[in-house]
Symmetry: C2
Subunit: 536 residues, 2 copies
Amino acid sequence: MRRWNGWGDETFNLALPKEGKGFLTERIGIGQPLADAALQDVCDKVPESRLPASSGSALGGLVDTSPEARVRHARGQSLADWLAMRSGEFGVFPDGVARPRSGQDVQTLLRFARENNVHLIPYGGGTSVAGHINPLAVDKPVLTVDMGEMNQLTDLDTESQIATFGAGTPGPLVESQLRAHGYTLGHFPQSFELSTIGGWVASRSSGQQSLRYGRIEQLFAGGRVETLLGTLNLPTIPASSAGPDIREVILGSEGRLGVITEVKVRVSRLPEQESFHVVFFPDWEQARAACQQLVQNRTQLSMLRLSNAVETETQLALAGHPRLIALLERYLSLRGASAAKCMMTFGLTGSRRQCKSALAEARQVCAEFGGVYTGTHLGAKWAEKRFTMPYLREALWELGYAVDTLETATDWDNVDNLLGLMENSLRHGLEDEGESVHVFTHLSHFYGQGCSIYTTYVFRVADTYEKTLSRWMSLKHSTSELIVANRGTISHQHGVGKDHAPYLPIEKGELGMLAIRSLCNTFDPDSLLNPGTLVD
Amino acid sequence: MRRWNGWGDETFNLALPKEGKGFLTERIGIGQPLADAALQDVCDKVPESRLPASSGSALGGLVDTSPEARVRHARGQSLADWLAMRSGEFGVFPDGVARPRSGQDVQTLLRFARENNVHLIPYGGGTSVAGHINPLAVDKPVLTVDMGEMNQLTDLDTESQIATFGAGTPGPLVESQLRAHGYTLGHFPQSFELSTIGGWVASRSSGQQSLRYGRIEQLFAGGRVETLLGTLNLPTIPASSAGPDIREVILGSEGRLGVITEVKVRVSRLPEQESFHVVFFPDWEQARAACQQLVQNRTQLSMLRLSNAVETETQLALAGHPRLIALLERYLSLRGASAAKCMMTFGLTGSRRQCKSALAEARQVCAEFGGVYTGTHLGAKWAEKRFTMPYLREALWELGYAVDTLETATDWDNVDNLLGLMENSLRHGLEDEGESVHVFTHLSHFYGQGCSIYTTYVFRVADTYEKTLSRWMSLKHSTSELIVANRGTISHQHGVGKDHAPYLPIEKGELGMLAIRSLCNTFDPDSLLNPGTLVD
């Protein structure tokens, strides 16, 4: 069963090897874990639902107002959410959880919301790390609309390679239903295990193999959105010059314009081959230049990821197997990649011929920048663990450490600058408390123009939840301000939600915000749909 | 100098070989050309400008109200425009032509428009085939804003591969300024010679090598739009999940939201290699399947085009060189491609290794579908003439023929159906007048999901301009209705303008139109900017 107060399945735990613990102790000191609240205690604190008494009959059993359902839908997966769930101090709960089984059910819910002045929050996998699905403390009832019942592949057009899914279909069900027919969507965000296809569209998600398959913007072909004004149908057309693209208005709309109920996506035949390869570079400068060269050359890779020196060191330390790692490091050192070494992982996916040609091209470019190619062994390890990283938060938590990430994207001319600013801000962010922060970064999602920067930071929890939250807020806020002040997007792949909304106006500008607001006001003049998210 | 009443440069003529004339006579009969009006006669008909007397001083010499300038900016390049220009019956002229040199100048013009209730029409290369830049017959003065003075590369960031251009830069100046630094944009619409980078953005243009470089949507990285509410800055960010993408609101906005003044685009280093190859297939079915396979395989091609049997026959007939063509046809016939043969052209662009691998893959796929590979000779011919096809209208006109095209895009499962409907509608569209129409089609701009359909039709001009126009209107209208009723976009690459606006609501739906209208109303509540275009 899904964890009510953390990531993923209760039966799965990612153990941190003892070398990992030693590594962190050395960097930021010994952690002191905080005590977790119990589910029953939290359920006991859930107040009476404020939904009108008539809602049971009006909604024909669509709505669950049980405390546990409301607890389980109150928070996402941001660190602030995590602290709320672990402490049991949720603050606000939705007044009920609806589980529609059709677009018609969603229309019923929308009508109910309009007639009863109720807020609706569309809910996919609840994996938001930016506060998308958290109810606000307002004087209106809040109904969370969990799309989980709409989780089927309803059509597959193999000619046009278009698959139609219910919006609540989570990653594994997307892939397993497609694979049965020999197809894949190829969208693999780290949240894959729990996040849903509708959530990907609503929050403009990007997957680990976006280099081949594209971001969700490229995969989303059309579908259906239920709005307060009726049904918005987005026809599938391969490309069009017929005015602004309405798909692009729905992408990133985060529940503000309506509830996405049906998603049509561009799928691909399962590839002939797929493999992941690891190369180590002597230093950051050369490693980054190799990545830039590969993507600007249009070398046909399916994924690319570059860890900086601290992330490389951390990953090797946390991997366990110290003797094997020592051997590897001796070998790399002989080939010129030692203390400052940076690890690149690249993926090849496609026909045999494509993979062969791209591998030769990639190896040649890497060699030009001093890269030491180590084959597919470490790449296979990466692929094996690609979706389990979120479980690391559990393992670290139990040792008294909090971990979070910040991510952005910027142009190549600004990557090193922004990365440096972010790491510096985080690394020194708790100095006034005398606390060290362990900070490391990788680049991923590469474009000719630039790339995303994904920075992880680990710090010790304080002696109370409140102080721990304030540590996080201070790190998050100061670094987010730096990002948007320095040509970074406030989010490359996590969306805006409520947490990033304060930083959005700097990125979009006054008139950009006006455009977004005018769409929200047109489709939802009374701000019933997920208010506070995206724009306040 | 540019032709005032047709396409391109006055000194360039594309001669139709005598075989071409015979071919058309055989198909649709001998043409009887109509007489052309003279420029001076048209200028004599231009009425007094209705711009307020104060405009000369208020606009500091930005505005030209001379009859010739107003004639030269009154029409685009649709067939209706062509008939108006050739007959001299323009109907409506703009009241003046402004030539801003900066964003500030454009702001001056916008202020002037607001204060004096004047309509503004942004004007790039005037190559619209959908009535984008035609002034409406309204009781307000109309000022056309010709962006031609803003035609410089103002910045080139070679790290991020971002080039900044004035919005009025035409294709050849885009490429020549980039090539001087070793870069290319790679955007080659057929209108390349005259159309501008700002016009490409405003109308969601697509170039012949979009398979490699992407549509303008993928190339447009940001820039600046002057609106009635102030300047909209679009920052360059490689990709973002921070809410709806404002770039996508400007793309296809067709002058309704503001005047695009600065365009930042994603450029590429000049490729190591480029070549174009031609393959003939025995029939349509196999040829289409080969294209579908190539694009769904992600074979790294830079362009792909497939002519149906009638287009193949027509192109070979119009090419001249009957003896060489006869030789070629004999060879093809021996290899199985005879009467129903279809010609595919594909382009390879990139590193030597990429081109080599893609060529092997492409040849293999083509062979599987019975394709006969003929090398690069015909491909080089295509490349040589790729931008001269619009001149063909001149050559046909002088023989008494009118030629026009209709284009759309649809999903693979619908390509043959829609293509058949379009060709049928056009071919029989003038039967009640006893006139034959010569109709042929190619596919281009391929996507995993589908492709664009580009249908050309040639018919004899009637004995008056009026009747000729009514022939065209009847063909255009009935086929456009068919397109949107059968899952095609009203335009894959030409935009909406005024001509396609009536068909847009079927494609976008009521709520899609509402979204577009709400943006127009927000940015231009008094409908001063290019009214009647995109939405009425």
